[in-house]
Symmetry: D2
Subunit: 108 residues, 4 copies
């Protein structure tokens, strides 16, 4: 299963839920509930990732990181952005290595 | 730029830093500092994502989500996992739609 | 209204809910749901505090910080601790000033 | 040690650092760094509280909750608020019990 295909399809699905009825899908209910609700979900998934990691439960950890990425994609979509923007940023940093990576990330 | 290529290369770079000297790279210093340090960084990036989103600063938001995904990959690597595990989980959920998505995600 | 009285009474109420039926109170339902649920609530309240602060909504901010402290007290109670333990720690640091505060806090 | 006295003194100390030179104290450096820095610290302390709680390390947990409350006070001070505002809110909820507490907290 190719990452490009998965992220593209997921992103398209999320986009298609933007105008949809809240009842019709979880994602459309998130969009309807608004920006703060999306951000709270992201924060929740981040906390759940910590808890799963502390438990050392790999299967649970994978599910929580998937939730974290999924809600990141919903947040990006809310702002008119997509996974391609994040991957381009990650690729841009790829040339850089060692502690330079960190400086590159910290730089405004 | 293909997502598969970016994530594979990033993941390989992170793996290669596992045994490296902490001075030689930011990622190796994270691995050396240990699991809790990686988790704190993830929590920080999640908070910074919230702040950037509330500011409505798209460029900043992309950088923070990139940081969030990056540190997720470091956490996964610490547990012997990689982006493929998360993408397989996201793909698995793809067939499912609407509020079923949510139930699928919540299910143990 | 005296802080000592408020925290003592709140702490006593929380303690009294430990063995109670989950249906009878929100706090007893938290204790029944367990440690991870309490921690998720704490993380949620922390995120909601950030959002209220970014909105510059003082009334909302006070409510969210109250929620954060409240769920901290529930967490402390789960571990057999109370507000007195936290206040003693804060008092202990009081003699210390300037950047020494920070070092005192960071010290293991 | 009386909670009222500890919180009053702590709050007064924090207030006194508002105009001070950043070099002179950790709190004045936080005020100088600004609102987002204070919020990031709060988020960090929340995450560290989770980690200490998962480790079941009571002494560490007390220190992290103290850090969380301390940075809450700095945040409140930034907004011209103090511990009295939070305690008044907690006292206000005290009459209410059971699941009503939760509804009271959730109410706008």
């Amino acid at each position: 299963m190719n990452a490009e295909a998965v992220l593209q399809r997921l992103s398209a699905t999320i986009e298609s839920r933007k105008g949809a009825e809240p009842d019709s899908s979880y994602v459309s209910s998130l969009f309807r509930a608004g920006h703060d609700t999306i951000l709270k979900k992201l924060a929740e998934e981040s906390a759940e990732t910590l808890l799963a990691a502390k438990d050392g439960d790999k299967l649970h950890l994978v599910k929580e990181v998937a939730d974290l990425w999924f809600h990141s994609l919903v947040l990006l979509a809310h702002h008119g952005l997509g996974p391609g923007d994040v991957l381009a940023e990650l690729a841009r940093r790829e040339g850089v290595s060692g502690h330079d990576e960190k400086r590159a990330r910290i730089a405004p």
